[in-house]
Symmetry: C2
Subunit: 221 residues, 2 copies
Amino acid sequence: MHAFAFDAYGTLFDVYSVTALCEQLFPGSGSALAQMWRAKQLQYSVLRSLMDRYTPFAQVTEDALVYSARALKLDLTAGQRSALMGAYMTLDAFPDAKPALRQLKSMGLRLAIVSNGSPAMLQAATNSAGLTELLDAVISVDEVQIFKPSPRVYALASTHLRLPESEIGFVSSNNWDVNGAGAAGMTTFWIQRGAAEPQEELGHPAAHIVHALTDLVAMIR
Amino acid sequence: MHAFAFDAYGTLFDVYSVTALCEQLFPGSGSALAQMWRAKQLQYSVLRSLMDRYTPFAQVTEDALVYSARALKLDLTAGQRSALMGAYMTLDAFPDAKPALRQLKSMGLRLAIVSNGSPAMLQAATNSAGLTELLDAVISVDEVQIFKPSPRVYALASTHLRLPESEIGFVSSNNWDVNGAGAAGMTTFWIQRGAAEPQEELGHPAAHIVHALTDLVAMIR
């Protein structure tokens, strides 16, 4: 392994603050809103890709929010909408992210993000979490105008890092994302921080399972 | 409008009997299983399409069942698995389906199914529901090896019926499917048999909303 490519949201960046703001704005319905919003965000990104109707992730995320609030019969004001979208710009990194990236970098590995996020969203989150100087590349699907798990997205890691797919470890908390990277020829690491869940039945299960990003350091040594 | 193309599962065919069998086999967990199974079936069909890893709908449906049972910690035996898959082969049509198709056909419209279903699944369901002689074409995505909402799927209706997309009405109970057909240039009809739900935020909302398939007859007259 000469490099690692990381998924962003839920893998390096903790979206807990978005959930917390949902609950603060809609007491009692916040967790249902956050859950549906996240599911719709993924669903819309995949459906739009298949429809040949790509639109940047910031827009997909806002569309998913609007739908979810409507489905849950919550009255979403323009101010609330913009506050919730803004929460995506100032995410914290998970506590294991910075120490893991720092150690991997010191071992000579090249590090990248490969994310559905729009370039501006990714830059804001990377800066806000203090990860910018540790990353060799911050790669957005926007470059190929199609979302994960299209193989064209995972191929970007290879292009940017100038390494064959097989020498790049791909790390994600989303098992469907792991399956996509595996189908594209990468060596995959599924990070499961919480309770054990089954792998998706998509034909390309994770090659490795880790429980913290710092586990990667020991596996590489 | 010179023709109608119908989605199959949930639009012409009632999958209630599948849900009922879930509940019979797993009392108390059947509705959770049926719900997750349906969501995963859609998710896997879209993810596999985007991964360039098409596999027929019968397999996607079985994979979705296996995952859902595992996620819900239900012990699914080979016999139960095959019984549940078999339930897809003998579905009833909704009560409004046959009368609507018969009237539309007598008015000279050409009628087709355009479905994610595998050819064998569609043939079995069409025969079982007694709709075979009313349909000019039963079209499966299997022909193009990609699932809805790819525009390549909706284009099949135009090819088989030898009519431009704009002269074919597309009818589905799934709003994402309606959006896909609309993006592909068809005139769309969203059938909402139950409680009102918001349209998906995918840029191509339904041109018309109906509450029973027989409503189409009055709209065409």
